[in-house]
């Protein structure tokens, strides 16, 4: 069998790669799972394309071709929560959402706080439809008491540490984790919510919670946590990553810290960019119960502003699957979290790009180059010789979010029924078409 010159060519798409500063119509050539070149159309190229079989060609005319998206905050639930999601179904959801790389959180059962569990996840992820990078636990069993064997975790491949879901409440432990992690040059990802201030809170503390008589978690719980950790980051010289930023005060603190040269990065979820606490009283939809909670419109606007000016580096879904029966209950009894991998692209297009807040290049940067840089991941760019992780987007296609279309094993999205513009056309990971 003659060896082919290319395995796959994506032709005529609008190629956007913020890492390369590239943004024009071109063909993307893939061979052996890597990108071999990106080239504009020419007579020679046209001849090349003619020699290819149809199944080696993807017609991306009218589509946007971008580096495979990276989501640095997802819950794959395996091990222990297989009824909600497995690594296989979570990666299928990732592929359907245009993500070729995801970072999974360690709050599984058992926790990912040791090499064996990291290895288990890695083994289960081999052959899945997305690359899975493991984020290990900061503390043993996510209890906030003793540091995990972070050196061991990094050695086997953990890309960062977090106690996500829990805030590392003890400042001494947080200080030591930043110091310790700095030996390995990995970030400490913090779920920043002071546990005393938000104890019992199930929605944002605001007039909405006052009106509904629901216990609120105040914005200051996040702001005090962010401020404290920035101070600790500064004294330790560690790397701090603030997960799911939701408040004006937190955005301002991070902006100021960055100006002062402190090594802090931040993410925001699509649901905090799109929804506010005013949604909750309408139908008490338990899929709106998330941690940190949906905030006021003023906070939401401040977070969008922070995303635009670069205070917030990236968009991450905090994909948090929950079984239907666990969410089909009283609002305050519902476990927090909603799924997000399969709605991120449509939401960002509809609510940020179409509204003029972000350009495609800005949005793509926040879901490719920036998350790759924060965690030192391969990918995030279509540079020659990079892994052929490529997402093709149909930018104007209208679609309605439907529960029965989700690849995720769970359906707990607050966006079911939303009409969105822009969806994933195809997802390619390592040269293999994993979706579309």
């Amino acid at each position: 069998m003659a060896s082919k010159k290319y395995d796959l060519v994506i032709k005529d798409g609008q190629v956007i790669d913020p890492a390369l500063g590239f943004g024009k119509e071109a063909h993307v050539f893939v061979k052996d799972g890597r990108i071999v070149k990106i080239q504009k159309d020419s007579a020679a190229i046209a001849r090349d394309l003619k020699s290819l079989d149809d199944d080696q060609l993807i017609d991306a005319a009218g589509k946007i071709v971008i580096p495979g998206l990276i989501d640095i905050h997802v819950h794959l639930r395996e091990p222990g929560g297989e009824a909600k999601e497995t690594i296989e179904t979570g990666c299928r959801a990732a592929a359907a959402g245009g993500f070729t790389s995801v970072c999974c959180m360690p709050n599984t059962t058992p926790r990912i706080d040791n090499q064996e569990t990291v290895k288990f996840v890695q083994d289960r992820a081999a052959g899945a439809d997305a690359r899975v990078y493991v984020v290990g636990a900061i503390t043993k069993n996510i209890e906030g008491k003793e540091l995990s064997e972070i050196g061991d975790l990094v050695k086997i491949g953990a890309v960062a540490i977090t106690d996500d879901g829990n805030y590392v409440q003890n400042p001494e432990i947080m200080r030591r984790s930043l110091e310790y992690a700095s030996m390995f040059d990995i970030p400490v990802m913090q779920h920043a919510e002071d546990q005393f201030l938000c104890a019992g809170g199930v929605m944002n503390e605001s007039f909405q919670s006052s009106r509904l008589g629901i216990k609120g978690a105040p914005a200051v719980a996040e702001e005090i946590a962010v401020a404290r950790d920035i101070a600790l980051c500064q004294v330790t010289g560690g790397r701090l990553h603030i997960q799911h930023v939701t408040t004006r005060g937190a955005v301002e603190a991070i902006r100021k810290a960055k100006l002062a040269g402190i090594n802090v990065t931040a993410e925001v979820t699509p649901h905090h960019l799109v929804l506010t606490d005013e949604e909750i009283g309408k139908e008490f939809n338990t899929n709106l119960r998330v941690n940190p909670p949906l905030r006021s419109a003023a906070d939401r606007d401040a977070v969008i502003e922070g995303l635009i000016d670069g205070t917030i580096d990236c968009i991450a879904s905090d994909h948090a699957p929950h079984a239907e029966q666990d969410k089909d209950c009283e609002f305050d009894m519902a476990p927090p979290g909603m799924i997000g991998l399969e709605t991120t692209v449509g939401l960002i297009k509809t609510y940020l790009i179409d509204k003029g807040y972000l350009s495609w290049a800005d949005a793509v940067r926040k879901m490719t180059a920036n998350p790759a840089r924060i965690l030192g991941l391969p990918g995030g760019s279509l540079a020659v010789d990079s892994p052929a992780d490529i997402t093709i987007i149909d930018p104007e296609k209208k679609w309605t979010v439907r529960a029965d279309r989700f690849q995720s094993r769970s359906k707990n999205s607050a966006f079911i029924g939303y009409k969105l513009s822009g969806c994933v056309f195809k997802t390619i990971m390592g040269g293999r078409i994993v979706f579309g």
Partner: protein, 312 residues
């Protein structure tokens, strides 16, 4: 068909004035029924009403049950302590089981906000909220308004002060919405730790000084203060609450002449209200209890859509 603009009574926020007036006016006739020797009308004959109480309640449950019985409805009681809830059955499953038993109307109390709404989504019955979390308790507010209205002949331009734990009180929330809709001027008074955030957005005057709050008021509705607030750091002590917010005889001097003292019960005598105030001629606390039945009869009747011809 319901004779109100909705087939359920989930709260008073957003309920139009016409509905509230209709409930109050209808309650007048039922109040007369209660004063008869034979306190019963056939209005809801053949209608099955379930009292679904997930939270302990004595007076509200009994008040509803009496209202139902006096309307000749068939009543069933379900309380969490004697039900499958303890076996871990989900709310939806419980409710669907009840629906399968062909219930026409459900009176529900639950510790979680939004449960009455949840019920409207999984069953066909008319739903009446008898208290959901700290959200709303519409029939209590209606009976409070009925009691005031009967005394003054109006609700508009009266000054009503609600005193107590504003943050955790569903009675206060329902009173705010109802009284505002009917044109009363509403003032809230309580310790700053028991005021909900952004309390000013309720559109009431807000006080942390009870003497200022009572100045020029017509009605004082005193709320029960939960003694466990101390443990959660919201109050230093019961003693201090009484000193700062207790409604004592001395404090009543600032009220308008024909003033009214109310309390939804159960009272902590000597804590939020002095005994001599609770038992004074200005107190309508026991009228509230009797009126509660009339108002609940009116709500049940109007939501059921039954005709009046069967006699009242």
């Amino acid at each position: 068909m319901s004779r109100l603009s909705s087939r359920h009574l989930l709260g008073l926020e957003g309920v139009p004035k016409e509905d509230i007036s209709r409930i109050l006016e209808t309650a007048v006739s039922f109040r007369e029924v209660i004063d008869r020797t034979i306190k019963k009308v056939p209005t809801l004959r053949g209608v099955t009403v379930l009292n679904l109480f997930y939270e302990p309640s004595t007076r509200t449950r009994i008040s509803f049950e009496l209202a139902e019985k006096r309307l000749s409805a068939d009543t069933v009681n379900f309380s969490a302590s004697t039900s499958s809830v303890k076996k871990g059955e989900s709310l939806r499953d419980t409710v669907q089981n009840i629906e399968a038993m062909k219930i026409d109307m459900v009176v529900v109390r639950h510790r979680s906000t939004g449960v009455p709404y949840f019920l409207t989504q999984c069953m066909d019955a008319n739903i009446i909220n008898a208290g959901d979390g700290a959200h709303e308790h519409p029939t209590q507010a209606l009976l409070d308004m009925f009691t005031i209205w009967r005394k003054y002949g109006r609700l508009d331009k009266l000054r009503v002060v609600l005193v107590g734990d504003i943050k955790h009180s569903r009675v206060i929330r329902s009173n705010i919405w109802g009284l505002q809709t009917m044109g009363a001027s509403v003032a809230l008074c309580g310790p700053s730790t028991l005021l909900p955030v952004e309390v000013e957005k309720f559109g009431c005057d807000v006080y942390t000084n009870v003497d200022e709050a009572l100045d020029g008021a017509d009605v004082v509705n005193v709320m029960r203060v939960q003694l466990e607030r101390q443990q959660s750091g919201l109050l230093p002590s019961q003693r201090e609450y009484t000193n700062l917010f207790g409604i004592t005889k001395d404090r009543l001097k600032r009220l308008n002449k024909n003033y009214t003292i109310m309390h939804p019960g159960p009272m902590n005598r000597g804590v939020e209200i002095a005994s001599e105030v609770a038992d004074s001629d200005h107190s309508v606390i026991l009228d509230q209890v009797t009126n509660g039945q009339a108002v609940r009869m009116a709500v049940l009747y109007l939501l059921s859509g039954r005709q009046e011809e069967e006699g009242m």
